[in-house]
Amino acid sequence: MSEFLAMGGYGFYVWGAYGVTALAIMAELIALRARRVNAVEAHAEASRR
């Protein structure tokens, strides 16, 4: 396992690339979820008036 994580000495580069990609994708999904909730709420409010 630690051999796998070491990536033959390139662990920093390989996991730095994959880690930041995963974070960026998660950030996009979380932001989209928040936008969706906001849009639905604002919409419900507008139609109640």
């Binding site: 033959g8 390139y10 390989v14 994708i25």
Partner: protein, 245 residues
């Protein structure tokens, strides 16, 4: 089947909602398979060691960053030419994911460049034109935020997106037109691939995963945009009933 039926926001909204889970879950499944091929089956590269494994996200995101721009320009042209509402919304929905893909391509490229070329960054034609692509996406997003009227924003962003599309062939052919630190294409439509079959397989599976991810996310975003922009329009009343979120 008449596809023009889905060219209005009111008919496209539920269709997009049905498509999202298919593309989303397929993307996840393909990403798992692609990473399993990339890290489990593909052997260590005889020149680059394990560092080459960055290829599985680098190439997929770089392809996607260019492709999304072309699709955005296509919808922008439709929005400008026919003044259709959904086209402008599609162009608007594509920009943030395009910017994300460009960022991932640049970031993974930097982390791959350091161990293989000895530098994170060089001002060579491929990298510089990809950085310009990132600024074009930022420009389109910022321009939209600066204009309050959505239809005027569609037209202004449309013009910018269409002018910027000239950058796409520059990125694509940069490794042929100039001497670049970045290598030439490993995969081409007209020649046999210059890499092992199993590595190529992992790369292509990841590329399809990124495609499906982008489609799912853009459909999610366009649904938000429809809700935001069509607020107060009668047909959207039914969308926010309980259970539809």
């Amino acid at each position: 089947m008449n596809f023009f039926r889905y060219s209005s926001p009111s008919t496209f909204y539920p269709l997009a909602g049905k498509l999202i889970p298919w593309f989303g879950w397929s993307a996840l499944l393909l990403a798992i398979v692609g990473l399993w091929i990339g890290f489990g089956l593909a052997p260590t590269d005889f020149q680059q060691g394990e560092a080459y494994r960055i290829i599985f996200i680098h190439v997929a995101s770089a392809w996607m960053s260019m492709f999304i721009y072309v699709v955005m320009a296509f919808w922008s042209a439709l929005a400008l030419g026919f003044n259709t509402r959904l086209s402008g919304m599609m162009a608007q929905a594509l920009a943030p994911t395009g910017a994300l893909m460009t960022f991932i391509a640049l970031w993974t490229g930097a982390l791959w460049g350091r161990p293989t070329w000895g530098t994170y960054w060089a001002w060579d034609a491929r990298m510089t034109s990809e950085l310009i692509l990132l600024f074009l996406y930022f420009g389109v997003i910022a321009l939209r935020n600066a204009i309050d009227d959505d239809r005027r924003a569609d037209r202004a962003c449309g013009v910018l997106a269409l002018v910027g599309v000239v950058n796409i062939p520059i990125i694509y052919f940069s490794v042929q037109w100039w001497n670049t630190l970045h290598q030439g294409s490993s995969v081409s439509m007209v020649a046999a691939p210059k890499m092992a079959a199993i590595m190529l397989a992992g790369m292509l599976v990841m590329a399809i995963a990124v495609w499906f991810y982008s489609i799912a996310v853009v459909l999610m975003r366009v649904r938000c945009i429809i809700l935001e922009r069509e607020r107060g329009v009668a047909w959207t009343g039914q969308l926010t009933e309980p259970g539809t979120i």
